[in-house]
């Protein structure tokens, strides 16, 4: 029951609100229409004023513009003249400076050329001196090397000769030793061949008797 009541009251309020609102809107619209009309009138008025003002301003501007143009034309001619004068002056001075620079540059180039030539000559002399030094060193080293090689060759040859001599000496000693060993054998052989023919029986007997006598003296048989 209560909710129904509440609902009904709400609906009623809403309707009332809507009616009020509609009324207000109508009222506002009416007011707005009036205001708009007023505003439109005001605005038309303002607009007319603005247009007049702007036309004034525009004419003044045109006027000033003409004056300015006039002035500027005059100024630009003077400026141009001035500029031309200045430009010519600058041109002349620039030309002069270029000439001077050219002369100076020429001088610099000549100086550079001279210095380069001098440097070249100095370098050539230096290189020549270096080459001479290198050749000198090379000759010295070559001479030293050849000397050393010669000495080494001589030393090695000496050593070889010494070894060969030593070998020959050793061989000679060995051969002499062999000869010494054989000489006695040869002597024995020779004597045995010769004495067997030359020694008579009597000689042999005498020798043997002599040996027996010696044995007796030495008391070989006791």
């Amino acid at each position: 029951m209560l909710p129904g009541i509440l609902l009904a009251s709400t609906l009623i309020l809403l309707v009332l609100f809507l009616l009020e609102r509609r009324k207000n809107q109508q009222l506002i619209k009416k007011q707005q229409g009036e205001v708009i009309e007023k505003a439109q009138e005001k605005s038309y008025e303002l607009l007319h004023q603005a247009i007049a003002h702007s036309q004034n301003v525009y004419s003044e501007i045109e006027k000033e513009e003409g004056e300015i143009l006039q002035k500027s034309l005059q100024d630009s001619t003077a400026l141009q003249q001035e500029f031309e004068n200045k430009f010519n002056n600058e041109l002349v001075s620039f030309k002069n400076s270029i000439d001077a620079s050219q002369v100076e540059y020429q001088k610099y180039l000549e100086d550079l050329k001279r210095r380069t030539e001098e440097a070249q000559i100095r370098n050539q002399d230096f290189i020549r001196a270096q080459i001479d030094q290198v050749f000198e060193n090379f000759e010295q080293k070559l001479s030293d090397f050849l000397l050393e090689t010669e000495q080494r060759s001589v030393t090695s040859i000496d050593l070889e000769l010494k070894a060969a001599r030593q070998l020959i000496e050793t061989y000679k000693t060995q051969q002499l030793k062999l000869i010494d060993e054989n000489i006695v054998a040869m002597l024995e052989k020779t004597l045995s061949l010769v004495l067997s023919k030359k020694l008579t029986l009597k000689d042999n007997v005498d020798l043997i008797y002599e040996a027996l006598e010696k044995a007796k003296v030495e008391k070989f048989i006791v």
Binding site: I183, L187, E188, L195, V205, L207, E218, I221
Partner: protein, 163 residues
Amino acid sequence: MSPILTSIIKDTYTISSLNRRVRALKHFLSQSLFKKGEVSPDELFIEDEDIKWLENFDQKLLSTFNANNFYAEFQKIEEEVKKVTPLIIYLPIEFPDAEVIKLGQKVRSLFSPNLIIDIKYDPTLIAGCNLVYNGSSKDYSLKKAITDNQKRIIEEFGKIGKA
């Protein structure tokens, strides 16, 4: 030394002759004692010089042998002969028999009356002789003299070479 051996050795100078004569004597006596009839040394195979020697041998000594003691006695003699130590003489040349006898006599005159020699030949001695007795030796040869003087000889040859 037995008398018979002493008698054999009296005229015998070398060991080979001694052995030969002992054998000859034995042979002669064996034939005489055990063969019928008279036996002459000529009939036996004995060398001529031994025949002569046998003929000149002391007959008294020969008569001491008989059939009973023959082998025993000769065994003794042979054993004694084995014990004989000869003087070995190395000669460079061959001596004829006569010289061998003279050499034997010379040895006996110098050393001992019963010394027996043994002749051997060594041509390498060249001259002189080499004596060996009872294990010791003494070299009196030319070869030994050369060997002993080898250094001097080589020096002399060296001098000749330098000259």
